[in-house]
């Protein structure tokens, strides 16, 4: 279904003043999918998307967006993208409607068409009653929605979102996710960066896990969990018990394991059976839960997303 690539990054490198932020990554984003760059802060996600939307020059390698090279046709590429940057950069001196209209001018959209498009977007994002207000009067969630609306003013082929829900309260996050899911259903290609696993899980058809400027793994969320973890995880608070001895006693029942601090993660062949066996070993701090992307990330890096 998703075949035609709209973004192709090939051995992409970004260095700032001798520091390597992106160390040679390859990926492709296909038309109509929601593609995620998942990783902790400093993984190189923002640097990667800034090169895609022609904001930062490429140090090495190539990116083609909609078949055009970012080094050669930045204006043509930018005309067909929508960008929602990580920092809130709405124009605080303009009203909600003026923010959209002012932006429309940069895409050469005629005033009447711009006004109509802006009104549609305000309706879609439930901001129509705020049209005449200054941006300062909006809540964090509304500002985010307006920033996304602004990114859609030119009807882009691809919408790029850098950490779309960072700093939002849970309710606002769900509101934004809902809108992004709607957009994806309408066929808008989405490229987003996030360090939230639940966000990646909720939204992304496919994703790459980035760490230290490199891509560690890529696939659908389901594939990644199935490949590295399996369907379930047992967490063992081992206290003073030796991880090695626990592992040794259940080796037949697990596909893999990971020790992080005093927690032992076991990836069982059959979760219930492993739980029974661990109960016999008189381990009490046990929990059985479904495997997640966080487990994949932990296994690949030895660290949680929050601790890097």
């Amino acid at each position: 279904m998703h075949t035609e690539p709209v973004i192709e990054a090939c051995d992409l490198v970004k260095q700032y003043k001798g520091i390597t932020a992106v160390a040679g990554v390859d990926f492709q984003v296909c038309r109509g999918e929601c593609f995620g760059l998942l990783g902790p802060n400093g993984a190189g996600k923002s640097s990667t998307v800034k090169m895609i939307y022609c904001f930062s020059p490429v140090t090495g390698g190539t990116i083609k967006v909609l078949g055009m090279d970012v080094r050669e046709q930045p204006r043509q590429i930018k005309a067909r993208l929508g960008v929602v940057a990580q920092e809130n950069n709405l124009d605080p001196e303009l009203t909600v409607m003026q923010n959209l209209l002012s932006y429309a001018g940069f895409y050469g959209i005629p005033p009447d068409a711009a006004r109509q498009r802006a009104q549609e977007l305000l309706n879609f994002f439930e901001l129509a009653d705020r049209a005449g207000q200054k941006v300062d009067t909006l809540s964090g969630g509304m500002k985010r929605k307006l920033t996304i609306a602004r990114g859609l003013i030119n009807n882009p082929d691809i919408l790029i979102l850098d950490e779309p829900t960072t700093g939002l309260d849970p309710q606002a996050r769900h509101m934004v996710w809902q809108r992004l899911n709607n957009l994806r259903d309408r066929g808008v290609t989405l490229l987003l960066t996030t360090h939230y696993l639940d966000e990646a899980h909720q939204l992304c058809d496919r994703l790459v896990i980035m760490y230290g400027g490199k891509i560690l793994e890529q696939g659908t969320p389901h594939e990644l969990v199935a490949k590295h973890i399996g369907s379930e995880v047992v967490e063992v608070g081992r206290g003073s018990a030796e991880a090695g001895s626990i592992i040794g006693q259940v080796a037949q029942l697990i596909r893999g394991h990971l020790v992080v601090g005093d927690i032992l993660y076991l990836y069982p062949v059959d979760g219930r059976e492993l739980m029974r066996e661990l109960g016999r070993l008189r381990l009490t701090r046990l929990s059985l839960r479904p495997g997640t992307l966080e487990d994949v990330f932990l296994k690949l890096t030895g660290k949680g997303l929050g601790e890097v």
Binding site: F55, S56, K78, A85, L90, D91, Q98, G105, Y107, G108
Partner: protein, 258 residues
């Protein structure tokens, strides 16, 4: 340094238009404040000091002083706009970043902001020109040519100020810009007294002041005292602008495109 920067005029215009949209809401307040300072100088120096000075270069002191204040007003307008104004848009409001994510380039944004600064010079200087016209201090219809000169000088100051941001991108540095560059220019460019009496080295330094050349032209136009020699001053301003605008664009490009 003078390599051509990527510029798309329609998008430069959009940047200008964005600033204009914002300004339309506050122009009354900002313009009235801009009024006050030159008028205070005109009253304090022109009338106060003028009471002790019988004539300056063969004219009443008020007539000598007034044209220069239209130009200094223009200079301050561009200097404030393209330091504090532009820096706040770039660094705190992130408006430059937002615009560069559209088809506009960094050059479009910076050039648009400089043209906006020069427009404010034109506007604020012309308002003072109107005031001195009402006060009966404009002697000649040649004064109709003052606004284009104010605009050209304004673009020079806008580019100079933007280049300063490119060199020292820090809001505290603008204090130094004003006390080390703008205020000395204001005092030593022949607005308050003719430079002819000064020592040769001081004169040589004054020659490098854009304000000096603009004041020469504007005073001559206002007083109807025109001569072909004024083309020299206009040429000086034109050349300075042609050097400073690309310089500012290059320096800002380095700052914005990382």
């Amino acid at each position: 340094m003078f390599r051509l920067v990527d510029i798309a005029p329609p998008l430069v215009w959009q940047v200008f238009r964005r600033n204009f949209t914002v300004y339309r809401r506050t122009w009354m307040v900002s313009m009235s404040f801009n009024f006050i300072e030159p008028l205070l100088y005109l009253a304090a120096m022109g009338i106060g000091l003028g009471g002790y000075v019988s004539s300056m270069e063969g004219m009443p002191y008020l007539n000598f002083l007034a044209p220069g204040l239209t130009v200094s007003s223009a200079m301050f307008a561009a200097a404030y706009e393209c330091t504090y104004g532009s820096y706040v848009r770039m660094e705190y409001q992130k408006i430059y970043d937002a615009i560069i994510a559209t088809p506009a380039s960094a050059g479009d944004v910076v050039l648009g902001d400089m043209l906006w600064g020069s427009f404010k010079s034109l506007l604020y200087g012309s308002v003072i020109l109107l005031v001195i016209l009402v006060l009966g201090l404009v002697q000649s219809p040649w004064a109709l040519l003052v606004p284009p000169v104010l605009w050209l000088a304004g673009l020079t100051f806008a580019a100079m100020s933007m280049a300063w941001i490119g060199l020292v991108p820090n809001i505290d540095s603008f204090n130094y810009y004003f006390s080390l560059i703008v205020t000395p220019l204001f005092l030593l460019s022949g607005i308050f007294f003719p430079l002819t009496g000064l020592a040769a080295p001081v004169l040589a330094i004054a020659w490098f002041s854009p304000l000096y050349h603009a004041v020469q032209v504007v005073r001559s136009l206002v007083n109807g005292n025109v001569s072909p020699a004024l083309w020299g001053d206009v040429l000086w301003l034109a050349v300075a602008t042609l050097v400073l605008v690309p310089l500012a664009l290059r320096l800002m490009h380095k700052l914005l495109v990382k």
